[in-house]
């Protein structure tokens, strides 16, 4: 009977996410002024779907087949997580005045997919992840206060880039190897990835520079400093972060200058740099050959990617059903490869809809950048959104073997303290810009329709 419920649930999960996505797209079109519908109703529908998904999943995860009973601890965690999501979703809309409720909904949907998957893969990690999410939102709630106190934070240009270099270089002294990359810092029992914090500083720095009219000298200095960060990351074997920083730089440069030649030139330089990196570093060559033909070397180089493809392929369109697959055979499944686990048990349709929710989130992010009348905010919003989009693309593309694998986390879904906290804070800043612009529009009494 329980198997029947799992079978039935695999249709339910697809139904939930398809409705959520449909509802979200309708809402986004409405925000863009293309259609008209009741906002509160659609936002409420989205929240209800998250609740349904959460309850369905935890009913499966907490059931014990041997004793035919529900595990109380898992039910408590599940209830706690659900209560937390509902309360914080409500609070976030309250504290961030005039922020976009659709963005919050998407974020909570993705976070919940992460919690459910982690509870299934490794319950201890799910609990820790929940604590990280709480910390993330606790910090995010202070963003409006801080930004009210320091509204002109573009003044600290030099501090941003200086701190960035300091943090990245600090791994040389305090760093420890993790999955082949030296990009973690350990202070006592506390550890974090400096490159995650540098993400903020880097975007703030570039926005501070690019908000002004810049001359060639400044362009070269900024380009040189940014390239310095990227090269340091490559040396630390953190190829994923290096690529994300580079692409973010290109996005912000293009947004600021609208110069196609610079964009194309930058990509050209990067292509040459990749060839050099390929020739110079063995870890780059290993990644590329594992991508080109993982089947040739299943025992070592191609192992991760092949296991990931097995999971996605075996799960198929509708998935094996929650708890019915074998995602634990995928290496690093709770972090880099969590998307493969989601596809295996929830199915590829669900996986595609997850991609759809990410696109929806990025659409809202770029829309905030587009509508912001302050160039500085606009640049930061575009930078953050692009950064998150490239990171999502790199890891999902890597997991499905579309591009060579670079070990980065999937925002909101992968386990990881630094990653989750930083992703939530990024959204916090975007949402604050959204509210700020809204207030400005109202004060001016003008409508930009």
């Amino acid at each position: 009977m329980f198997d029947l419920f799992i079978k039935f649930s695999s249709y339910l999960f697809v139904l939930y996410i398809v409705l959520f996505l449909y509802n979200g797209i309708a809402l986004a079109l409405d925000y863009a002024g293309l259609t008209k519908q009741s906002h509160t109703h659609a936002v409420f529908t989205g929240r209800t779907l998250i609740v349904f998904m959460h309850i369905t999943a935890f009913l499966i995860l907490s059931y014990n087949r041997e004793t035919f009973a529900y595990n109380k601890d898992i039910l408590i965690i599940g209830t706690l997580a659900l209560a937390f999501i509902m309360v914080v979703n409500y609070l976030a809309n309250l504290i961030y005045k005039d922020s976009c409720p659709l963005v919050w909904n998407c974020v909570f949907f993705l976070l919940d997919v992460g919690i459910i998957m982690l509870q299934r893969l490794n319950p201890a990690l799910a609990f820790k992840q929940l604590i990280w999410i709480m910390l993330g939102f606790f910090l995010a709630m202070w963003i409006p206060v801080v930004l009210k106190l320091i509204p002109r934070f573009e003044a600290f240009e030099i501090m941003y880039i200086g701190l960035s270099f300091a943090l990245i270089l600090s791994t040389l002294v305090l760093g420890r190897k993790e999955y082949g990359s030296t990009n973690w810092i350990y202070i006592g029992s506390f550890s974090f990835q400096p490159s995650e914090i540098v993400k903020f500083l880097f975007v703030f720095y570039l926005a501070s520079v690019f908000r002004k009219k810049i001359d060639l000298k400044e362009l070269l200095i900024t380009g040189g400093l940014s390239a310095g960060i990227v090269v340091l990351l490559v040396f630390q074997k953190d190829l994923g972060s290096a690529l994300i920083f580079f692409l973010t730089y290109m996005t912000m440069l293009y947004t600021a200058t609208s110069n196609e030649m610079l964009f194309v030139g930058g990509i050209g330089v990067a292509s040459m740099a990749s060839v050099v990196a390929y020739k110079l570093f063995s870890h780059v060559r290993v990644r590329v050959s594992a991508w080109k033909n993982p089947w040739a070397d299943v025992d070592s180089g191609g192992y991760q990617i092949v296991q990931s493809l097995f999971a996605i392929g075996s799960g198929g369109i509708l998935g094996s059903g929650l708890t019915k697959g074998m995602p634990l055979s995928i290496p690093v499944v709770s972090k880099d490869f969590i998307f493969a686990a989601v596809c295996e048990e929830f199915g590829t349709i669900f996986g595609i809809c997850v991609v759809g929710i990410f696109i929806l989130l990025f659409a809202r992010g770029f829309s905030i950048a587009f509508n912001s009348k302050r160039r500085y905010y606009s640049l930061i919003a575009a930078g953050f959104t692009a950064m998150m989009a490239f990171q999502t693309f790199l890891i999902i593309g890597g997991v499905i073997k579309l591009i060579p694998l670079t070990g980065v986390t999937l925002p909101f879904i992968s386990y990881g303290g630094s990653s989750v906290v930083v992703s939530i804070l990024t959204i916090g800043i975007l949402q604050w810009f959204c509210g700020w612009q809204h207030t400005l529009d109202e004060e001016e009494g003008t409508d930009n329709e």
């Binding site: 198997d3 079978k7 947004t255 600021a256 493809l309 097995f310 075996s314 770029f366 587009f370 593309g397």
Partner: protein, 467 residues
């Protein structure tokens, strides 16, 4: 300001395109790639057995059950009927998986109409059953093939030439699929490698059966091949290599047909030398050597590794099927079937169709062509030569009073003991129906590969006529 807004728009469009590519690629994985990908032996899901459901049965082409699951307490156990006869085809479960049990694991565990079956099971207590796999093999021929090998190690493969359907595939030494788990250590450590499916994974030196390839290379590259004559004295010198004919027998003046019938090593060495390493390799590649072979069971590649700059001794060795050249019985059967099928090579297959729990066919495998590997002139000449092998040459053992056999014998030198014996052929020569490949390891004269081939062809044809 406005240009910056346009840039944001463009970046967003770029990002949407990137993610559309992701979505497209994901669909490609599940819809196109997954079928062949997930049956890879590295997929740990193959070894996962869900004992809470009734695993589907494996049946032969007539519906005779070869493997099925039976309820014992709360879970199911696997049973095999006369499993030793088809051990390498069926494979096993319990100590990992192999054979069809591994390759079709997902099918055997897939519940058709799962919702209906589960509800029905909940209401009436009926069993929840996976899909059954119906093979192209004939249980009866499996038994005959296995028995004919007697105590010899080796393999027998019979293929229907027009479709590529495998009617019989046996390999010796065999094992009992039922007791693999208990006997795992013995099976694993045995020097004879009983677990190995010699029909698909046995890489044998093809010996004189490879002269089919050399003959084709001659037809394609030497214009006056039909008038080319050679006088055999029983041995000949090539650079630093002396080539002997079997038992140093002198064949006198031979042409392509008589040299082929007598399996004259000296003639084919000379022919190979004239063709040259590059062209010989080119011919072998065009016939499917050195390519991976799509089949439902794990297969080894058949290889011809000679390079254009090979020495003359390497070249002549390769020309007569010795040296580094290897072939599996399945590949040789498939190549022979292509000759019988007017040059059109069919992809061999062993899964005929899939039935659901109620016996309804839910998917059927259809014959697939690999391509035209021989021209009609080549086929005509080869058939004529292969008939001569039986009627006036080394293949007299395969001569049948009921139908004309065409074939080629082979003796593969074995540095570790007695020679391996080969026979490949088809019948009836005029309207070919079945092709066969037989390998006998360390043939000691107690059994002849040609006799086994003749009996297999007889039984295959006879069985069809009686239906």
């Amino acid at each position: 300001m406005n240009s910056s807004k346009n840039s944001i728009k463009r970046i967003f469009i770029l990002i949407i395109l990137m993610f559309l590519l992701v979505i497209f690629y994901m669909l490609k994985i599940v819809v196109v790639d997954s079928k062949t990908m997930i049956t890879n032996s590295y997929n740990p899901r193959i070894n996962a057995t869900d004992n809470s459901i009734k695993r589907g049965s494996i049946k032969d082409i007539d519906g005779t059950v070869m493997a099925y699951s039976e309820k014992k307490g709360d879970s199911y156990i696997r049973k095999y009927v006369d499993g030793t006869y088809s051990a390498h085809v069926l494979g096993y479960t319990g100590a990992g998986k192999a054979g069809i049990e591994a390759n079709q694991n997902f099918t055997l565990q897939k519940l058709d109409n799962e919702t209906f079956q589960r509800i029905n099971s909940f209401l009436t207590g009926s069993e929840v059953e996976g899909n059954s796999v119906v093979l192209t093999v004939d249980d009866y021929l499996q038994k005959i093939g296995t028995d004919l090998l007697r105590t010899n190690n080796g393999a027998v493969v019979v293929i229907e030439v027009k479709t590529g359907r495998v009617l019989c595939m046996t390999s010796k030494p065999n094992y009992d699929p039922q007791t693999v788990a208990e006997n795992w250590d013995i099976l694993r450590e045995s020097e004879d490698s009983p677990i190995l499916n010699r029909a698909t994974q046995g890489v044998y030196t093809p010996g004189s059966t490879f002269k089919i390839v050399t003959a084709i290379a001659g037809m394609r590259n030497i214009t006056d091949i039909n008038s080319f004559k050679y006088t055999c004295t029983g041995e000949d010198n090539f650079q630093d290599k002396v080539i002997h004919c079997y038992k140093n027998k002198s064949h006198g003046e031979v042409n392509l047909t008589s040299a082929f019938a007598q399996s004259c090593n000296c003639y084919f060495s000379e022919l190979g030398k004239r063709v040259g390493a590059e062209k010989l390799r080119e011919t072998a590649d065009s016939l499917g050597f050195n390519q991976s072979f799509a089949f439902d069971l794990n297969t080894s590649k058949s290889t011809v590794l000679i390079e254009a700059d090979a020495t003359e001794s390497e070249l002549v060795e390769t020309s007569i099927g010795q040296g580094k050249t290897t072939a599996t019985p399945l590949f040789m059967a498939s190549l022979t079937a292509a000759i019988a099928n007017d040059g059109l090579m069919m992809q061999p297959y062993i899964v005929d169709h899939i039935e659901n729990y109620s016996g309804k066919t839910i998917s059927t495998n259809l014959p697939r062509t690999v391509g035209n590997v021989f021209s009609s002139n080549e086929v005509k000449k080869l058939k004529e030569m292969m008939v001569e092998v039986i009627n006036s040459g080394t293949g007299f053992n395969a001569n049948s009073e009921y139908f004309q056999v065409a074939g080629k014998t082979g003796t593969a030198e074995n540095p570790n003991g007695a020679d391996h014996l080969w026979f490949v052929g088809f019948a009836p020569a005029e309207e070919p129906e079945y092709a066969v490949a037989v390998v006998l390891e360390n043939g000691d004269g107690s059994m002849n590969a040609g006799v086994i081939a003749r009996k297999m062809l007889y039984n295959a044809i006879n069985r069809k006529e009686n239906q």
